[in-house]
């Protein structure tokens, strides 16, 4: 059978993730110090795991309501108020999803009509573009630059807006750059959007991972922005719960109604066991967040300082758990640098180009690892860079 004629042309036209390709190279190599993963270096705190286990022991193995347990939505609402000063009605404005990824997918489908343009600041997480295409939207990439601290500027946003613009993705704190948007940065963006019908998908999955005493600000908390924003968040990063697949959307009722409809038909409801664990996380997990974020901050300082000492220029990341150093100074493409680093020095990092063409000249290094591990990697990277200089 000629599957290429049978399978959806739209699906086939999507490029596989560039990170994937690099990970495949890693397979089978031993003695590699990897700084590649995009997930926490912790297991889910025990009290949260226990709540999941207890729900199983009590036989809570049924479907929940489509939008998730009301207790869960209520706790999400409390959390958003407590941490980010956002107000959402648990009954009508919150949907519990299978991770932040499903929330992104459902939001795009709920908003996009064929031909609608979606502005995506890049470099960014790899899922926005393909999900946009599958919803028949047209992705419009806006390149954020190192000289702007990888922030989205109002000038760039303005230049990208057309009458067809439907949605702006706001992926901050950013994977892979570690950039954050402060209140003032966001206010300038909000000013561009207020007189338009452009909606915002604010992907705040790394909201708890901000450093240097700067607290994350949600664009939905700015005057006039709540009505046009879909806040996407989840439990994977903040509570080290990647495998539980727990996320949610918080959005005005008419938007939530559409998201819920799609979620209902596609997923039914988010996993029940995970919801019980997540309720415990929301109720009693704030200290876990602070503890883990403190550990990431050590790793961040350690890695940034180490890279700079080796002579790799490095933008100071203020969020997420990645460093995005400028490796262009070595006169190689990102892929070449990362491949040589892998084969010659046995350290794995991800080429910036995996996050969009504009990532050329950069690489993503994760610091969601133990200090010992990071130190070992830095030593190898240092030796590798020394051989380049010779």
């Amino acid at each position: 059978m000629d599957y290429s004629k049978i399978l959806s042309a739209k699906s086939q036209s999507l490029k596989p993730s560039g990170i994937r390709k690099f990970f495949d190279m890693l397979g089978g190599m031993d003695d590699v110090v990897a700084l590649t993963v995009g997930q926490p270096d912790f297991v889910t705190p025990w009290h949260i795991r226990e709540a999941g286990i207890e729900s199983l022991e009590m036989g809570k193995t049924y479907y929940t309501s489509n939008s998730g347990l009301l207790e869960m939505r209520t706790e999400i609402s409390n959390y958003l108020k407590r941490r980010f000063d956002l107000s959402y009605d648990p009954e009508r404005e919150i949907v519990v999803t299978v991770g932040g990824s499903e929330a992104i997918d459902m939001t795009m489908r709920a908003l996009i009509d064929p031909g609608d343009e979606v502005i995506i600041p890049t470099p960014c997480f790899v899922c926005y573009e393909p999900l946009c295409r599958m919803a028949d939207g047209i992705p419009v990439s806006v390149v954020t630059e190192e000289k702007d601290n990888f922030k989205l500027t109002p000038e760039k946003l303005n230049a990208a807006i057309t009458p067809k613009t439907k949605l702006l993705i706001m992926p901050f704190p950013n994977n892979p750059t570690g950039a954050v948007m402060t209140y003032d940065d966001l206010e300038k963006i909000a000013e561009v959007l207020r007189d338009t019908d452009i909606m915002v998908l604010s992907d705040e999955i790394y909201a708890e991972m901000t450093y240097g005493g700067k607290k994350h600000v949600s664009i939905a908390s700015l005057p006039g922005m709540r009505e046009r924003t879909i806040v996407v968040n989840g439990f994977s990063k903040a509570y080290a719960m990647t495998g539980w697949r727990m996320g949610y959307t918080a959005a005005p009722a008419p938007v939530t109604e559409q998201i819920l409809k799609l979620h209902q038909f596609g997923i039914m409801c988010a996993p029940t066991t995970s919801q019980f664990a997540a309720i415990e996380a929301l109720k009693n997990g704030d200290d876990d967040i602070f503890k883990m974020t403190g550990e990431y901050d050590y790793g961040r300082r350690f890695l940034v300082n180490g890279l700079r000492k080796i002579g790799i220029p490095c933008f100071e990341p203020e969020g997420a758990f990645y460093v995005f150093p400028n490796i262009g100074v070595f006169g190689m493409s990102s892929e070449e640098f990362c491949e040589r680093l892998l084969y010659e020095a046995r350290v794995a990092i991800v080429p910036g180009t995996a996050f969009g063409e504009c990532g050329e000249g950069f690489a993503r290094i994760s610091y969601a690892y133990s200090l010992k591990h990071i130190a070992a990697a830095l030593e190898r990277i240092g030796n590798f860079v020394n051989t380049l200089k010779k």
Partner: protein, 158 residues
């Protein structure tokens, strides 16, 4: 100060350079602070956590509950002092509840520990009674779990 102590308590082998970066301090400043903490007796020493069960060293340890009669003016201090001077005694805690002092004793064999209790501890004046509990297996001590570090099982996705 608290941050420095927490870091050292977690891993005393961090270099001052590494710690300075992590705490956002000048290295000299950090060294001075650590020296001060040592001089003040806040930091009493630096030791390694060793899982002796992975070696061929023969040893047993036991928790001993001690009931003692407190002394006029000195309370429990004098008897605690008398006891902690034995090198076999690893730790001494004054406890609330059903007994007074909790000791952890180490010896080469059960017999050696039993002899120590019978011939050294029990005869001490003011010791009213002893109860000895031998340790069968150590799972976690000082916040460290005693087993092989687990392999990083995190899969690379996306």
């Amino acid at each position: 100060m608290k941050q420095i102590l927490q870091l050292l308590e977690e891993n005393a082998r961090l270099t001052t350079e590494q710690m300075a970066v992590m705490c956002n301090l000048d290295e000299e400043e950090l060294k001075n602070k650590i020296k001060q903490l040592e001089d003040d007796g806040v930091i009493l020493g630096y030791k390694a956590l060793i899982d002796w069960d992975k070696t061929d060293r023969e040893y047993v340890s036991a928790v001993i509950e001690l009931k003692v009669a407190p002394q006029r003016d000195r309370g429990f201090d004098r008897i605690a002092e008398k006891i902690y001077n034995y090198p076999e005694v690893q730790s001494v805690h004054l406890m609330s509840g059903g007994y007074d002092l909790m000791l952890i004793i180490e010896g080469k064999t059960m017999r050696e520990v039993a002899y120590f209790v019978a011939y050294k501890l029990a005869p001490i004046e003011d010791v009213v009674s002893t109860a000895t509990h031998f340790v069968l297996k150590k799972y976690k001590d000082k916040g460290v779990i005693y087993k092989m570090p687990e392999k990083d099982e995190r899969e690379c996705v996306l």
